[in-house]
Point group: D2
């Protein structure tokens, strides 16, 4: 008989995940898949998942592929088979869990936004600094940085492809709450979510614009708006979906976050940046768009066509110049060499697989991963400055 | 012999044009062409063109097809063969010419921006009101309103296609002065041009956003920026082009207008609007883009694909919904029925031909044309409010 | 008094046009406009237009701007004020008019297709050769060659931008007769139009593919199809539009041309070419698309976005390669320098203005214009070979 | 201690996979992932992988997640823990493996093309029929059918969205062998691959066009071409990549398959179909495009934007009509409800996960999956007819 049992090489890296909804499903796909495509020095083991509701957690454990489950997140702290804690809960719980995990010597990957308040984010960042000195690492999950086209854009910009940066133009356009009957899910409640479009999706474009350019916002002026003040209480809700109760006996509750945010800012590199984050851009499903214009060229991106990067080179003769649509699936592009042959594009979830591959490699080699909690804190400070500006008549406000 | 001389029907409408550069060439094409495609109640006669420089004016008269020429614009005032004065000069001369022409009983079509200051625009608007009571008509040349796709967008919005408007998102992106060696042409001088990107192209998107939605901006917050402070004095310059002197002996002068403007605003209909006007969007040549999102749908447009309108209908089932790319060349679309069969698109200049056809028809029938000088004044007030906000730390500023 | 009458420089070039419908309107726009934008050595004078119906011809003369009119095309032959005869009639009359005009010493611009049969085209080509030896010039109106983006494509290909050509992929997709109730206009009658989609629009893509590549088709295999065999007789019809009679008493007649044609071919340069011409491509209004792939790169074009050319350079590293969207409105692009500043696109009709500018310049300087009648004949031979192949079971057929 | 071990529900379905290269990696991702997103009645167990080379197979087993490995595919036949055999080898081995597996009572999923010859495909189809009568099921892996946008297109067409079908227009454009120095990998060798572009990618568009329309090709006329006759022997090669030996001592071998194929066909529903499959479309990476035009509308798709479907509804007024870009990520679209919220697109590999989810569900419920081996045979017959036509002067050839 010529059949052999398959061996396993590499030491295991035990992982526990807190939360199992939309982000939990995305991260689980990352933990299951990263070592199947990337050559990683260690082998992630999905040892424990934590949730609040017993039966839902049990079901999630089986569905998502975690070996064990618990309803008490503190169980992760003293388990020897957990080296990494992956936090996928709403923002109001990030600080407590992350700080406890770091203090327990666990590496932490925390979903964005880092926290619901700057104060919490500061504590987390301090805890991360302290932990790092003990070799315990952490990162905040701005997964869009791992979109191959955007990682390539950063590489190009760092190499001078756009020259002196003049304009940053970023939009994150969604439309999932255009209908006023869409229910009051947790993302629309300030106590759970911290903020609305600003913190949920505005955070992404703030982070990306700084990641791509290597510049930081120093001042912002902005305005938050809420178009729908009350919504039906949800009968059930998870992720980005939900449904209201029956029409007749429906109760409503107050929406306590912003529906949309617009702001502009100045960077420490002299660029003028504009941002718009909204959940009311009817017809735009996941329109995360960013364009950067500089003295030597431009780059443009839209997540609805996530495998494409558009690059303009202003140094060629005008008659030859144009935005080049680069289909970012070549072996020399970031991440894509681990996946499929040229021309075979990736999807939304691959940003998480790529993120987890990076995180695992960093943890295994003792390299502080990026973005750090300090990076997450800085984004938080930008968002807080936008809120202050909005409260203060749109006046320029220091970050 | 069966050859017959061609007769001419319709009474003539005598036209004089002041200015003959970029806008003068565009308007001349309109005056030559409008009655060839549209059925007009009168027949425009291109009787007189006025300019400052003698030989250039003489050459322009022949090239552009004007029967006579002069270097003194006051010559138009007392000529019986001039019923319409078309003003295509830089903004600093608009008020004087327009007011004199209206007082002389001439109908006036005046290029945008209406004037370089609100004060001038107010005088012009008052003069227009006074003239109208005497049957003398006037209009300001926001020609982009005559883009068939945008006229169709207005029609759709007026018919309820987007429902309650939530967002207006407007950009006018150009890149013709990215190179710091581009010379100091009149459009970069405040005394001639009034303002920079804000007044030149920002004016268009302010007008269009109000035209399309039927709503008016009531408050704005914004910021103007200049990236390049000094530029070579032009050896010669006209329109949007120009070239600097020789490198060695080149003198420079100060740029006195903005290079870019960003602002957001509230409308009287409750919408949140954002605007960006820039001449530093490398790779964007004439990227006038506008998108409007509402409770029932959206429309989106980019002038670089001017024959297309993208329309999203949110009232169909989600599985069927998508932005429809309407190729605006059908007989039932605005203006296009006068031109070519479906699928045969128009170009930039057709906005002027359409504009002049509308103007001629209105003048012939005694209908006050739109946009009026009062409309032009209101745009001017918006721009002035943006400038005040920019000077005042980006604070919300009433229009 | 400082008003001066405008002089006229340059000697006149007297033009007569035969036909005044869709193509006549397009050509008239060319004759009216060419010298307004291009510097031409002579000045076209629109002296005479000819049509069959008296009142329609008289009206067209006035509307289109022709100084005189006649219902007998032979009137053009002996008039001293006619140096150029522009033939815009259906194909069945081209040969007789063109040959007579050439023999009368008139330069001839003849709409495509050159003729309805190869035999007629051969006579015309022979007449053109004979006339050329007497200094009398001629050209066939494949106006799409004058699309700036396509002229630029030819320039790039001639300069080696695509290297050894492997593939030509050409489609001309329209949909104006999808409705079986669309009436039986002249373009659907073989005796008038010669052929259907093949000769009307297939001719364009055959010409263009050869023009762009500098290669000629030597063999073809193809198939013609008719989807709708009978249609209502037209109550009235012109150009590409028309309407049937009232439902009740409507008579129908046989469609005698093809509705669509598909074929592939080999060129003398070793390329494999594919073609599809159809009037049944629902939703495609004027989708003339051509893509050329070679060892060094590719070019792609779609007339529905006529100001754009997409160019792929395979000689750069794979990570940087992508189709560049060149907005063909720069001063260094063909034709566009005569028109507007960069970013201000042209429309369908500009191909005719550009064509007439080229033709006038050639005639004035005694340069044989292209495409010649011989070029038109060669296209005719390709189309005839496609028809023979279709009749002969799709077998490879020599041109 | 509140930590619970995760249970497993559902009975296992033991799977063995033969082959582990490009397709093997894609299928493994499917087997690992399908039950994580879809609710399946059984739970796939990845029990055995088979390959030829010992060390590569061992490594693949670990990398791809198979519990055991062997170098003799016959080992799969008598194992009780194998209910499904998934064949991902080159086409020359499909028949032998598939027939043996079916006879051994294993359900078979076989990569496309079904076989290298019609004769083999006929044997396989007969074996599949015989097996089905014993409850043993089989399917051929035309995975693109599982692209949500294409599954949605089929649903729309079946519902009458395009009406009477006139045109099918299909292209599969790649460029991975444009460089003549690209080595002679197995896909360029007739004995391994059966055919070149025709069988590899042409097979996909033949299958899809029939799948989408529900119509079958009855006759074809076509031409195969080879642009590069000899290539360097590969130093090493797998999947779609490879590298030649060192320049100096390099040996070359003959390319024995086609580089490109063009053909047109008639369907049993009266449509005219055109096809082009090529590996020489410079700049097109995975340009699988299909458009279908009918009396009521059109659909259009390009795999390089695989989450989009473009739908034209010809039954609305012309002024409102346009191609709708449907972002196929809604819960009501096929497959997407199992994945992410609206707007979060999928990638290439998801077609395999979807395919395996369908296959597993069918096997578990005893439903014959589609496409069947008979469907694969029919595609094979179309391809064979194209080859015969190409050998016979492009003459129409019955399928």
């Amino acid at each position: 008989m010529s059949v052999h049992e398959t061996g396993q090489t590499g030491s295991p890296l035990g992982v526990a995940m807190i939360g199992y909804a939309f982000m939990g499903a995305a991260h689980s796909q990352g933990w299951r898949t990263a070592h199947r495509f990337f050559d990683l020095p260690v082998r992630p083991e999905m040892n424990l998942v934590c949730g609040r509701a017993e039966s839902a957690t049990r079901d999630a454990a089986e569905k998502l592929g975690w070996a064990a489950w618990t309803t008490d997140w503190r169980d992760v702290l003293d388990r020897d088979d957990v080296q990494v804690v992956d936090i996928c809960t709403p923002g109001d719980t990030h600080a407590e869990i992350a700080i406890a995990a770091l203090e327990a010597g666990k590496h932490v990957l925390c979903e964005k936004p880092l926290a619901n308040t700057v104060a919490e984010a500061e504590q987390m960042s301090a805890a991360a600094d302290a932990a790092r000195s003990r070799g315990v690492l952490s990162s905040v999950g701005f997964s869009y940085r791992r979109t191959p086209a955007l990682a390539q854009a950063r590489r190009l910009i760092a190499g001078g492809a756009v020259g002196t940066i003049r304009h940053i133009r970023a939009q994150y356009l969604q439309d999932w709450i255009v209908d006023p009957e869409f229910p009051l899910v947790w993302r629309l409640q300030k106590d759970k979510a911290g903020s609305g479009a600003l913190g949920d999706i505005g955070a992404h474009i703030v982070d990306l614009s700084q990641f791509l350019t290597g510049q930081r916002l120093t001042e912002v002026a902005g305005h938050l708006i809420r178009f729908v003040d009350r919504r039906p209480l949800p009968a059930e809700a998870s992720g980005l979906s939900g449904s209201g109760g029956s029409e007749a006996h429906r109760e409503t509750g107050p929406v306590t976050v912003d529906d949309a945010a617009v702001f502009f800012g100045r960077t420490d590199g002299g660029a003028l940046a504009t941002y718009e984050a909204t959940r009311f851009a009817t017809g735009r499903k996941n329109g995360m768009r960013i364009e950067i214009n500089g003295s030597a060229g431009s780059i443009a991106f839209d997540f609805e066509a996530m495998n494409e990067l558009h690059v303009y080179d202003a140094t060629v003769p005008a008659a030859d110049a144009g935005f080049r649509r680069i289909y970012v699936t070549e072996p020399d592009h970031p991440y894509t060499g681990a996946w499929w042959p040229p021309g075979h594009g990736l999807g939304y979830e691959h940003t998480f697989v790529n993120e987890i591959a990076d995180f695992v490699r960093d943890v295994a080699t003792g390299t502080p991963p990026t973005p750090s909690f300090a990076d997450g804190l800085q984004v938080q400070r930008v968002l807080a400055a936008v809120e202050r500006s909005s409260d203060d008549n749109a006046v320029w406000t220091k970050v």
